[in-house]
Symmetry: C2
Subunit: 184 residues, 2 copies
């Protein structure tokens, strides 16, 4: 494999060139949100909105490589809960590096014992997710939340354990702004 360069558009999140572009709609992550009724309503009335999109760099998912992608989370809510990513562990416990590019977000992270840590993700801020921490990114702003993520090629996403156990905390919109509340 030959070295290559790619351009990041910090505002839009476009990565040029990219290998694959992912689009995640609400219907594909129903279980992630607490308010199932609000979710069904949104899918009916708003035509199953795109919650987030991602652009993958052309890097193989193999040991020794560093996969990187940009992600754009739309602004919005499902009931009181902000639009967010599904969230995942890595099968092979390994770190992930985040860089905020545009918008305002929170990263909700928890280790395998359920210990919770929340960090703000804003432009020019890096968030370091150590090995063994599940992570989910939540758009708490009124605009797109755009960020870059870098992770080892052999990390492999483990969505299943989060789908099964959930996160210990949710981020809800309140009259006083976003609030992190412990999940029931």
């Amino acid at each position: 494999m030959i070295p290559f360069s790619a351009t990041l558009d910090f505002r839009s999140g476009y990565l040029t060139p990219h290998e694959a572009a992912l689009e995640r709609r609400l219907s594909e992550m129903l279980g992630a949100y607490a308010d199932a009724e609000a979710a069904r309503r949104l899918i009916g009335d708003a035509g199953d909105p795109v919650i987030y999109r991602a652009f993958d760099a052309p890097v193989p998912e193999e040991r020794g490589h560093l996969v990187y992608r940009t992600t754009i989370i739309s602004p919005g809510r499902v009931g009181a809960e902000y639009f967010m990513t599904k969230g995942h562990h890595h099968e092979l416990d390994s770190a992930e590096f985040y860089l905020g590019m545009a918008g305002t977000g929170l990263m909700v992270m928890q280790d395998r014992a359920g210990v919770l840590q929340v960090e703000k993700l804003t432009p020019d801020v890096t968030v370091y997710v150590p090995p063994g921490w599940a992570h989910r990114t939540v758009n708490i702003g009124d605009d797109n939340l755009v960020f870059l993520a870098v992770y080892p090629g052999d990390a492999r996403h483990d969505y299943a354990s989060i789908e099964r156990d959930g996160f210990t905390a949710r981020v809800l919109a309140t009259d006083d702004g976003p609030e992190v509340v412990m999940a029931e």
Copy 2:
């Protein structure tokens, strides 16, 4: 280890917080430049200039982790050759992710067979160094060259093979601007 956030200053290259700050002076990398006489003159007349500085994130150099650092290469020349990093292989062949933050640079890369690849490093441009490619960053502009690098915690820098064999190409200032020339 607990997740943490850190702020990048794209203009200055400061990483806050950081664990270690490195300063590399010309006298520590004499062998890297072709014009030894010009180097000795600079050390005498310019008081051994700082060629580059780096700020390391507080991440352990261990498998599973992703080490990241910002680097600031001063503008300047040793004879006709631009200020640059020493350049290195990784002991454990592994990739490195670069993001240009300020200034104008070139990344000179070569694989273990000596195949050469040069990419421009400018703000918002990522350069992907695949496993097995030695890499050196060269400041071809009039201002600081600032960039971010991310690499696996167990990559380990191998400076020795570059010090022994050198790069197959040098970047020289000419009347027509920077030129990549094959080393003798």
